[in-house]
Amino acid sequence: MTERPRLAVVGAGPAGLAAALTAAARGVRVLLVDAADQAGGQFYRQPAAGLGARRPHAPHHRWRTWERLRTGLERHRAAGRITHLTDHHVWCVAGESGSGGFTVYALRGPGQEEGVTVRADAVLLATGGYERVLPFPGWTLPGVVTAGGAQAMLKGQLVLPGRTAVVAGTGPLLLPVATGLAAAGAQVAALVESAGPAALSRRLPALAAQPGTLAEGAGYAARLLRHGVRVLPRHTVLAAHGTERLEAVTVAALDRTGRPRPGTARRVRCDTLAVGHGLLPHTDLAETLGCALSGTAVRVDAEQRTDVPGVWAAGEATGVGGATLALAEGRIAGQSAAARLYGTAPDPRRWAAADRTRARARAFAAALDSVYAPPAGWAERLPDETVVCRCEEVTAGRVCEAVGTLGAGDARTVKLLTRAGMGWCQGRMCGPAVAGLTGCPLDPGRRPFARPVPLGVLAGLPDTE
């Protein structure tokens, strides 16, 4: 080969960065494409450059890993081995018939109006995930934000939405969010977690296999204590209250079956509710390419290959498991892609360490997944008038009516009858709720594009037929 093979890596979070550095070190020309203006993804999100943070690592731990990734990226960029396209929102990746190559279609800039196309011999999808939030009365009030969103605004923009926060829902993300908000000066009135401490201890063997993460959890617990944050395990937020914005939430204890215990509801005053019920993988680009999914995640083999030749995937797009897992998967994917782009079969022994980390982290994620669950029966308790689809303002009552009276048998028909999932977010926000209400499996998509595309950009594309 006279020219170096080109690999497009979509996503510059832990997975994409690890993959890009690994592939670049093996002689591959890497195009690293990300919507953000700086590398880092969610876990290593950096404060905007203009904010002049002098100790940007204050909200982070595991800082040394980030330093290595950052300096590695700089070195490869300077040497021309990696081109980092920041502020590029990818809306579609398409295989080229004949050549076996790929075209990456992106929109440039925060306004996302200018179309850009990039060619590559192979693609690696490291697009991460987004938060799942199950609806409850009042969840559309200003001041109610996703837990990860509050964290992202704090890490990237150094701002808080209010003074007094409740952090609620379920999942390991709630801990760093609560400590982050408290450290930044918010008064965190409570951390409301629907999982109970007993569930956690039952899973202890699997959890203990990942000692680093447990220690991290203990570190968070100590910090919560120091900030005087009240932790309420096996509790849930039943409703958010306010008119123009959030003023309070109702919190209740859950019984052992996960249902609210009568007589335990009480109000907690707050102007911020950071809420989340776990993460979901971004699979849209993979789906358009025709990659098979496994559940809600992109399906990959031991080398992190999807079932479409030339397409790899790593990180939370292939299953939610945190930054350590994303890094390991990225390393494996980068090595596999580099070898295969040079026409050789990779030697798995060369990633034995990453493989062990991956196996441990996946087992850990599976154990966490069985512990952290939204409260049982949340869908049945949802009042009819609660908005489920935030974009199209479709209520729970209308979704249930579509199934009950109108006889819709799948998520797509519910969508056509009610417009739930037809708005700007393309069902990303309401999908899990509609699935819970209707009993239909969460249908991750059939979204034509990963981003809304301006008509002018579509019209300006060359005819490829």
């Binding site: 919507a35 929102h89 605004m153 923009q157």
Partner: protein
């Protein structure tokens, strides 16, 4: 405490835009959503259906709840778009297309 403190941030000089006709201070690099949060504003959209107030929800460009009108262009995601000096930012009502 101020959330800039833990990182010992020393931002460059703030610039000024307007929000619904009032001056809005923004630090360099701040998005519209961040500048509005820092000014104590959490809602800048009224929904198409019921006119209910909305602001940031996902914070990462996925949910489209934070849509706002910037320099007469509606439908901008406030959590992604940086404030530029002199920007005229307005609450978006509905699609923002029939604003006068």
């Amino acid at each position: 405490m101020n959330p800039l403190e833990p990182t010992r941030a020393r931002p460059g000089p703030a610039h000024t835009a307007t929000f619904d006709g009032r001056p809005l201070r923004a630090l360099p690099g701040q998005t519209v959503a961040a500048a509005l949060w820092a000014a104590g504003v959490t809602a800048w959209r009224g929904t198409r259906g019921t006119g209910a107030p909305r602001g940031v929800f996902c914070g990462i460009g996925v949910c489209f709840d934070c849509l706002v009108t910037v320099n007469d262009r509606p439908g901008q995601r406030a959590c992604l778009v940086p404030v530029r000096p002199g920007d005229v930012i307005r609450t978006q009502r509905g699609t923002g297309r029939d604003d006068d």
